[in-house]
């Protein structure tokens, strides 16, 4: 059984739907990348899957039940999402921000248990941000800030995690580190992870499954070897490229042609 899937999903903001009649199944216990050109509807799909956007038509099914029937807290205990452009109040410190990820696990009265402390500490350690806890978020570099946001999503401690461009602002080392972290979380605790990524080569190297989108629809999906072809890249991004084999991992990599 798959825990998260959508059937006939239509999503949109104004008159025109962005995503139309889309079926998708998120593979359990796998790391999935969503790739596609700017404005093709990746964030919209992710927001629809995480019930941040009410579907115009179709349903999202989580653990066998229609998402619309579930309470938002129930959903938040198993499904987390890091938005593409999250906002935080002025002056907030890293410790404060990451701690707010524990919200769905706490009751009416702020009760901090050891479990909360451990989850936050693990998230900080995993993202290499433990040294920043007392710093205001605003004083951090873009990459540090991005890792703190990922830490907040991790602190929520959900089985399914949707990340919208978690590698933006990161240097090459931290991009790789983050993808390794996702792999590790997936390997150790079997987390199901879906991430919107723009770097095809990193997606190909570190993800089990790739979903390629264009114009609000899924145009191809499968393992990196199946999906990453010169034709598909031309179709999705309008880029002529050559597909080579990564000498280290044996996964496909692309280089622009000409």
């Amino acid at each position: 059984m798959t825990r998260l899937r959508a059937e006939g999903l239509t999503l949109g903001y104004d008159a025109q739907p962005i995503v139309r009649d889309l079926d998708v199944t998120v593979l359990d216990g796998k790391v999935t990348a969503i790739v596609g050109a700017n404005a093709c509807g990746k964030s919209t799909l992710l927001r629809g899957l995480a019930r941040l956007l009410r579907p115009r038509a179709g349903t999202v099914v989580l653990d066998g039940r229609a998402m619309a029937e579930l309470s938002t807290l129930e959903v938040a205990k198993v499904l987390g999402l890091l938005p593409q452009a999250p906002v935080a109040p002025d002056g907030i410190t890293v410790a404060d921000l990451v701690s707010r990820g524990r919200y769905p696990h706490q009751g009416w009265f702020r009760t901090w248990t050891d479990r909360d402390h451990d989850a936050v500490a693990r998230a900080l350690d995993a993202t290499d941000t433990a040294d920043l806890v007392d710093r205001p978020l605003r004083q951090l570099s873009g990459g540090q800030r991005q890792r703190v946001w990922v830490a907040m999503a991790l602190a929520q401690d959900t089985d399914l995690l949707l990340l919208d461009e978690p590698t933006t602002f990161l240097d090459i080392n931290h991009q790789v580190e983050l993808l390794r972290l996702l792999r590790k979380l997936n390997g150790e605790s079997g987390k199901t992870i879906v991430a919107v990524l723009h770097d095809i080569n990193l997606a190909s190297r570190y993800c089990d499954h790739i979903i390629a989108m264009a114009g609000g629809a899924i145009v191809a999906e499968g393992s990196p070897a199946e999906v990453i072809t010169a034709e598909l890249i031309a179709k999705v991004f309008g880029l002529e490229c050559v597909v080579l084999t990564d000498p280290v991992a044996g996964t496909p990599i692309i280089v622009p042609a000409g």
């Binding site: 938002t72 205990k77 906002v87 002025d90 919200y103 500490a121 806890v133």
Partner: protein, 360 residues
């Protein structure tokens, strides 16, 4: 020639297991201690000012005389007359109006994610003023009727703005811009009303418009106090959800908050608090604007303590009343004093907000 690459040696940081959790606990404890100290200190200051306002005046009293009289511990007819009869209502009014303005202001600012989003500026106070002045000028009403009109005006203005600013939910920036527009519109009509008024009504209306804690009747005070007893704890209880709403609608929903419902509940609470405060004391400007930021200075950035902001509001209003009535050569309405102190702060806020680009 080959490029030189200077090797960067970095000692790999291996954190001892549990070190982060310990550091985190220490951080949380430090914050909790700071919040407790600041809130306790503020409570002490507010109680001190509360007693002090009842000691000074043409008939000076000691703190002990005031306290025993307020708590009905001793019988001394002349002291009781001055304290319970004359000074306690004003002091209570300053205390409750301050608590209401402080808590309401900080909820608005956090909810709309903007330090300028004080109820003073987003049309709610202006709505109350318009209703009150209309009542005074056109229907010659006074006392409790003006209070109820102002209350209705504030709530109507808030509802109007919610309708105008609503589009797939309320976004902070749009709410503020529309609020400012609505406020200017209301103020224009209020000004027009004043030009149409007879001299006596115009004076009354002007007096109401400057705001004063000294004019509250017994019934008004009871209404405000009863509302505070319910609304203030409710706001404090909701502050945990407010912490999450501050992260934006998407993050808040992802964390399991029912965004629209929580926001409506918080806005409703804050609107009622400010509406009651304005109804009782008239538009006392700037207290709602500055209370939250001052509380954050004391508790730490982005802590958003609602109780602390309420206490700051009370301390500000009690001090303003002391200054207005006792320190100045001629007694002034409280609103004039808070305005004189608050205006420079507003200018500073406008100047710095734009520079940091944090205005929206």
């Amino acid at each position: 020639m080959t490029a030189m690459i200077t090797p960067v040696t970095e000692t790999p940081q291996v954190r001892e297991a549990g070190a982060t959790a310990r550091a985190l606990r220490a951080t949380r404890r430090r914050r909790a201690v700071r919040a407790l100290t600041a809130t306790t200190g503020l409570t002490a200051v507010v109680i001190g000012l509360f007693v002090l306002t009842m000691m000074v005046g043409s008939f000076r009293l000691t703190a002990q005389e005031v306290v025993t009289s307020v708590l009905h511990l001793a019988d001394n007819p002349s002291v009781d007359f001055v304290v319970r009869g004359l000074r306690l209502p004003t002091a209570l009014s300053a205390l409750t109006v301050g608590l209401a303005l402080g808590s309401s202001g900080t909820v608005f600012q956090q909810l709309l994610r903007n330090p300028l989003a004080s109820p003073d500026f987003v049309g709610i106070t202006a709505g109350a003023s318009l209703a009150a002045v209309t009542g005074i000028v056109l229907f010659q009403v006074g006392g409790l009727a003006v209070c109820l009109l102002a209350l209705g005006g504030a709530i109507a203005a808030a509802l109007l703005m919610y309708v105008l600013a609503w589009r797939d939910g309320v976004s902070g920036y749009r709410f503020i811009l529309i609020g400012i527009g609505v406020a200017v519109f209301f103020e224009g009509i209020t000004g027009y009303m004043l030009t149409r008024a007879e001299l006596f009504e115009a004076r009354q209306a002007m007096h109401w418009l400057t705001g004063s804690v000294g004019q509250a009747s017994d019934a008004e005070l009871k209404l405000l106090s009863a509302a505070l007893v319910v609304l203030l704890p409710l706001a404090v209880l909701l502050s945990r959800r407010l912490r999450v709403l501050e992260l934006g609608d998407d993050s808040a929903r992802a964390l399991g908050a029912r965004v629209e419902r929580t926001r409506a509940l918080l806005l409703g609470t804050a609107v009622l608090l400010v509406a009651l405060a304005v109804a009782v004391a008239g538009p006392i400007v700037f207290v709602a604007l500055v209370a939250g930021p001052i509380a954050n200075r004391l508790l730490g950035p982005a802590t958003g303590g609602i109780a602390a902001a309420a206490l700051v509001g009370a301390a500000l209003l009690l001090s303003a009343d002391l200054i207005a009535v006792h320190l100045l050569p001629t007694p002034l309405p409280t609103g004039v004093v808070t305005g004189a102190v608050g205006a420079p702060y507003l200018l500073w806020l406008l100047a710095t907000t734009n520079r940091q680009g944090a205005g929206g």
